[in-house]
């Protein structure tokens, strides 16, 4: 009898503990973090905490390194009698492609450009036009690109150095944790419901942010700003805004990054200092050679 009572008590305690545990989990699942992502609607950049420690993490870094690289290429092309236009540093939205980490999220752009991007900066337009139409220029440009890759420039990182950074590794770790967080899927459900209401089929894969209809059109080679893709892009981006998908997923991932940063702050500061040193060198190079 006593043993039975003991067993019952143990069972009751277990159930209570399980229920309490569930309640705690549910509370956690309801609470969504806030204040960890910065959305720049003009440039289309999504800034997460680790981006501040990343070589290409900010629009300003990207513009500076890109500009320094183009000046180096221009000097190389000049030697062979060719030119390369280099515009003033600016941070206009066309300088870099907008980020679509969590899908299309800028309806004003989607309504005009569909899945395409707004026109690029003048130097990029110049390069693309030359690459399309000027064979001799392209040959020399290829040659200069190869030279640039072989030349060790104090402020310019090639892919291996960029991708092996601590910030990059920690960003991967944060993304992995965000993906396995149940809130990731919960937030996506709101977006998927909205897509269905708009007559679209949401993607199944939890890392995908493009409707099945858009994927099929893109696979078939449809123009990125065709009428149908503009229509779909408008629905997708409007749903993104309506359920605050980019904001919520960005905050979720950003909150995880924030915790990871606090555990690696010393090593990250060393990397950040190195990037700042490279930025200064790039700025000096630009000033001297523009």
């Amino acid at each position: 009898m006593n043993q039975k009572k003991l067993s019952l008590s143990a069972l009751t305690l277990s159930i209570t503990a399980i229920l309490a545990g569930c309640a705690a989990t549910n509370n956690t699942s309801i609470a969504e973090p806030d204040g960890f992502v910065q959305l720049n609607h003009k440039s289309g950049q999504i800034i997460l905490p680790l981006d501040r420690y990343d070589y290409y993490g900010t629009l300003s870094n990207m513009s500076t390194f890109d500009k320094a690289k183009n000046i180096w290429l221009r000097k190389c092309l000049n030697k062979a009698g060719y030119d390369l236009e280099v515009t003033q540093t600016d941070t206009s939205y066309s300088q870099v492609p907008e980020e679509r980490t969590y899908g299309l999220w800028l309806p004003d752009r989607a309504k005009v450009f569909g899945f395409d991007f707004p026109p690029e900066s003048l130097d990029k337009q110049f390069i693309n036009e030359k690459l399309d139409n000027d064979r001799a220029w392209t040959k020399e440009f290829n040659h200069c690109q190869n030279q640039l890759q072989e030349t060790k420039i104090s402020f310019l990182r090639i892919d291996q150095e960029y991708t092996s950074s601590l910030a990059s590794k920690l960003a991967s770790e944060s993304y992995e944790q965000a993906l396995s967080d149940e809130r990731w899927s919960e937030i996506r459900i709101d977006w998927k419901d909205c897509l269905e209401d708009g007559g679209l089929t949401p993607p199944v894969d939890k890392t995908s942010f493009v409707s099945i209809e858009a994927q099929e059109l893109l696979d078939s080679g449809s123009d990125l700003d065709s009428d149908e893709l503009v229509r779909i892009a408008n629905i997708e981006s409007s749903c993104n805004v309506k359920v605050e998908l980019t904001d919520r997923l960005g905050n979720l991932e950003g909150s995880i990054q924030d915790k990871i940063i606090s555990k690696n702050v010393d090593a990250l500061y060393l990397e950040k200092n190195e990037i700042e040193r490279e930025l200064k060198l790039a700025d000096i190079y630009i000033t001297k050679n523009l």
């Binding site: 991007f117 690459l131 994927q215 892009a233």
Partner: protein, 122 residues
Amino acid sequence: MCGRTLSQGVVIKKKLMQLAASAVIASTLAAVTATSANAFTLYEDANYGGYGYHANWAKKDGLGTINNKASSVKNSPGKWFYDGRGYTGRKVFIYGNNANLKKLKTNLPWYQNWNDRFESYK
């Protein structure tokens, strides 16, 4: 010339057709060569092996036959590669060469890598 026989006419027509065919082949080859000069290459295998897809530098989306199949990259002029169509999802910046995308894990969980993962680039 007016008294040319039917068989002579056929021979001339054949020659003209051959000339036209040669011109088509020549222009096609020129176009292919031009594309090659104006492109970086994505390979189906690591270490720049297997099928090579010449990706246009200015091109914005679509990887044609090598969609989700690229394993190495040569001469990238500094491009963002995305794991979703329409430049969505995770991205990685590649400048120059990468001989083995299996070793590239930037912005992906530890159990994933960029091999066979590119769906668009910019």
